[in-house]
Structures are given as C-alpha cells and as structure tokens.
C-alpha cells in the first residue's frame, strides 16, 4: 500500500543523498515522497489534487519514479535520478566510456583499474553513480574486496 513518506524519513534520505553524492537538497523541493513497503517513490509536486485521496484506491500500480528499492538499507533503484543532470553529482561516481557503458547494460564486469583516476571519485563502498557522456546512466554497487563493478539489474546482451 502506498503512503506518504514520514517527513523525518524523507529528510533522512535527502541528507543521505546529499552526503553520499553531494546532491543539492533543494532539488527535492520539487517532489513529494511516497513509500510502499521498503520502496520509496518521488512524484513531481503539484497543488491541484490531494494525492492522499487516491492513495488507498484499488489497482493503484505505482507512483512517479522509484528512488529507493529499499530505503531502510539505502539501496537505490537502478534508474534513480537518471533524469537529473550529471552536474548534480559531486562525489561517489564513475565516468564510463562507451565500451564500459555497453558492458554496464550487458551486466558485464567493469574492472576498477580500467577506469582512469580522473574518471572516478569514490569516497566509500556502497551506491555509486555511473555517468556516460555527461549523463547519469544509473546506480551501481561498489562492494568491498571486489575489483570490479557490474549492474545486475538491467541486462541487454545486444546493446550496440
């Protein structure tokens, strides 16, 4: 069941995104936050309709864009904030070239050593943002003791 996200949790998540990626908190002023189980969704703010009135209706499939797949563990959705400009991300990102981006979509391993120093700014393990050609392509997981990253959510073997 969808419900409005508690303001305290909303602020906690925004603070996390700010501290993890340097995303300006003000960006999120344009969105309302909702949750369904452990998932968190953002919806563009509007002031004509009280969304609360439709949250409990049957056959409500989804709201806006999924931001967190599991907000309790700060697990971001694979396509979280791909509509934002890459300049909103200040840290914990990697910049991929075209071949590496293809690997990303094929769910192939991308070795860290293959990404030049100037193309990665990673401060700690966890969620990192993948950037290609100045655009955010999605979220990847950087795990301790792993020498590679991979996307295990989207898979398209035929990517050109």
């Amino acid at each position: 069941m969808f419900e409005i996200l508690n303001l305290k949790i909303e602020n906690k998540l925004i603070n996390y995104l700010n501290s993890r990626f340097g995303i300006d908190k003000a960006i999120f002023n344009n969105y309302s936050f909702f949750k369904n189980g452990k998932k968190v969704f953002i919806l563009s703010k509007q002031n004509k309709i009280d969304i609360l009135k439709i949250l409990n209706l049957e056959n409500l499939e989804t709201i806006g864009l999924e931001l967190f797949a599991n907000y309790k563990e700060y697990l971001l959705s694979s396509l979280a904030f791909t509509m934002f400009d890459s300049k909103t991300i200040c840290e914990n990102y990697i910049i991929l070239n075209r071949e590496q981006t293809k690997k990303y979509f094929r769910s192939e391993k991308i070795l860290f050593e293959d990404i030049s120093l100037k193309n990665k700014k990673i401060l700690s393990y966890g969620n990192i943002v993948g950037i290609y050609n100045n655009k955010i392509i999605g979220i990847l997981e950087y795990t301790k003791n792993k020498e590679f990253i991979s996307n295990n959510i989207i898979r398209n073997l035929d990517v050109k």
Partner: protein
C-alpha cells in the same frame, strides 16, 4: 526475413467505399510500403541536438526533423539495431511512429494540468504528454492489461517520467473521484493503420473485429467524457481507419452527450483528410468533419484518426 504484407480482399472492398476512387490504388500501394522508422527525442533526458549525438554521427545515420512535430525525426538511413543502442536504453529517444505522437500534441497539456490517459500502455503517448508538461502537473495513466502495464512502467521509468501515477483499472468504469481538464483516449482498435509496420496485422481483420472494437470504444468514450471537467478537452484517437471505430464512435458520443463541441484539428504541413460524415447509408453529425484522418498514401505515415472534443 522480410514478411510480405497481407491485405485481405474484404479489407480492400471496404476501403473502396471510404477512399476516393482515384486514390484507392495509391492507398493500397502505401499500405504495402514499408514505413520509415522514426524517433522522438525525450527532452526530459536529452537537451541537445540529437543529430550531433555520437551514435548517429559515428554510424552516419541521417535524421530528418519533422516539421509538424519538432521532437520527432525520420531515420533516413538503413538501421537494424537502433532499439539496442545505449542512447535508446538511456531514454534519450524513443522509437515511435509519427502518427502516434500527434494525439498528445493535439491535447497539448500544460504544466498545471491534471491529465488522464485512459488506455495508456505501452506508454509512448503518456511519456510524450509528460515531456510536453516538462514533468510537471499530474498524469493519471491507466490500462487494464497487466502485461502491458509492465511495459508502461518500464517505459516511464526509462524515460525519467516523474509526474505520473499508474492505475490498472477497466477504462469502461474507471473512476477515482477526480475530474480531469485534459483526457487522452487512444482507444484499443483493430489496428488497420499499422499494417506498414506489422505486415501481418490484417490477417485476422474482419468486420466482426471492427464491430467488437467499436462497441468497446463507445463505452470507453462515454466514460472518458464523463470524467472531464467543464471546459475540459478530450482527444480521441485510434490507429485504424474504419468509420465504425472513429466517426461512428464520436457520433454516438454526441447523441448521448449533446452538450459538447467538436473542435477543429489542424496540423500545419500535414496533408490530412476531414472526418467522414457520410458512410454507406449512415450520416454522422456534420461537426465530425473537424476531426482528421491520416491516410498512408497522403502522408507517408501510419493510418490514424484524431478528434478533439470540448465539454461545454
């Protein structure tokens, strides 16, 4: 392997009564002609000039911008794998037929509108509505088909749409205690217009199919109209050309809800036909002339019908 376009004789016989006799050969010829692929640039994710994008430049793919849909481009080169490019997967553009972009343009929602897309899957039109609204306002996107809902969700996610709520209800009695100022009803239809893209799409075509779709469309349009606010706008569209699924549906609505206005639809630089007001022994409301028919042989697009209705 290329599929041969199959056009049943009974389909040709029917359209001899609809299309101008001097044009019927050209109509059939174009129904068999392969459709030029087209893309819509998703400005929610891609702000630059798509023709300068590395994929199109490196592969020397020629794109031609369409005059009447500034976000749309025809792909003038032979390409087989554009659906698997990084750019497509990142949602920079969507492969979409030009005709199917027009209903959203004609509805023309603004950033404050509350819009209903009553039969929304697979979501290309919903995403275009969101693009026109700059991801602001609110879209309620609905579809009854569970499989198609999955595609709808994926399409909107990939294209970065954040102003949409999805429901999976039957459009015939869809009601969430809201009235809308803009509604798009791109109704399920017999798909006569898509034969250029899907050569075998007319194999199961029959007058019974047209009739069954028409019956469904009448129920859908009545509910869609009743969900409109006063002065609200409903755009009704189909990718089919039989009058029973188009003008007859609008005529039915006018008889049931006479207090409405059929607004003129005009797309500059596109050679459209007026809505039909006489077909066989039937005479439809004369204002239906304000609707448009898009014929393959006049436009080099898919066949389509679009009507703009205002609640007064």
């Amino acid at each position: 392997m290329k599929s041969k376009v199959i056009i049943p004789d009974k389909f040709i016989s029917k359209f001899k009564e609809i299309i101008n006799p001097e044009e019927i050969d050209s109509f059939i010829l174009y129904c068999k002609k392969k459709l030029t692929k087209s893309i819509r640039v998703n400005t929610l994710k891609y702000k630059g000039d798509i023709t300068k994008n590395i994929y199109f430049e490196e592969n020397k793919i020629i794109l031609k911008q369409i005059k009447y849909v500034k976000q749309a481009y025809l792909i003038k080169s032979e390409v087989s794998s554009i659906g698997n490019t990084i750019e497509q997967l990142l949602g920079y553009f969507q492969i979409q037929e030009v005709s199917s972009m027009l209903p959203a343009l004609i509805l023309n929602p603004n950033e404050n509108d509350i819009v209903l897309d009553l039969t929304a899957a697979p979501g290309n039109k919903t995403a275009f509505l969101a693009q026109i609204m700059n991801n602001k306002g609110l879209i309620i996107a609905n579809d009854i088909d569970e499989t198609r809902i999955k595609t709808l969700k994926y399409t909107l996610k990939k294209l970065g749409v954040t102003n949409t709520i999805i429901f999976s209800k039957d459009g015939i009695d869809f009601d969430i205690n809201l009235k809308f100022n803009k509604i798009l009803l791109d109704a399920p239809c017999s798909c006569e217009g898509i034969v250029r893209k899907k050569p075998r799409s007319l194999i199961n075509w029959s007058e019974q199919l047209v009739k069954s779709k028409s019956d469904l469309q009448k129920k859908l349009i009545l509910n869609a109209y009743d969900l409109l606010e006063k002065n609200g706008t409903l755009v009704y569209s189909t990718c089919t050309m039989s009058p029973e699924e188009n003008e007859e549906v609008i005529d039915y609505l006018i008889k049931k809800r006479p207090n409405l206005k059929i607004e003129n639809v005009n797309i500059e630089n596109l050679n459209t036909n007026y809505g039909i007001i006489k077909y066989k022994l039937k005479e439809y409301n004369k204002n239906i002339k304000n609707a448009i028919r898009i014929y393959p042989h006049k436009t080099d697009l898919e066949g389509f019908f679009i009507c703009k209705i205002k609640r007064i």
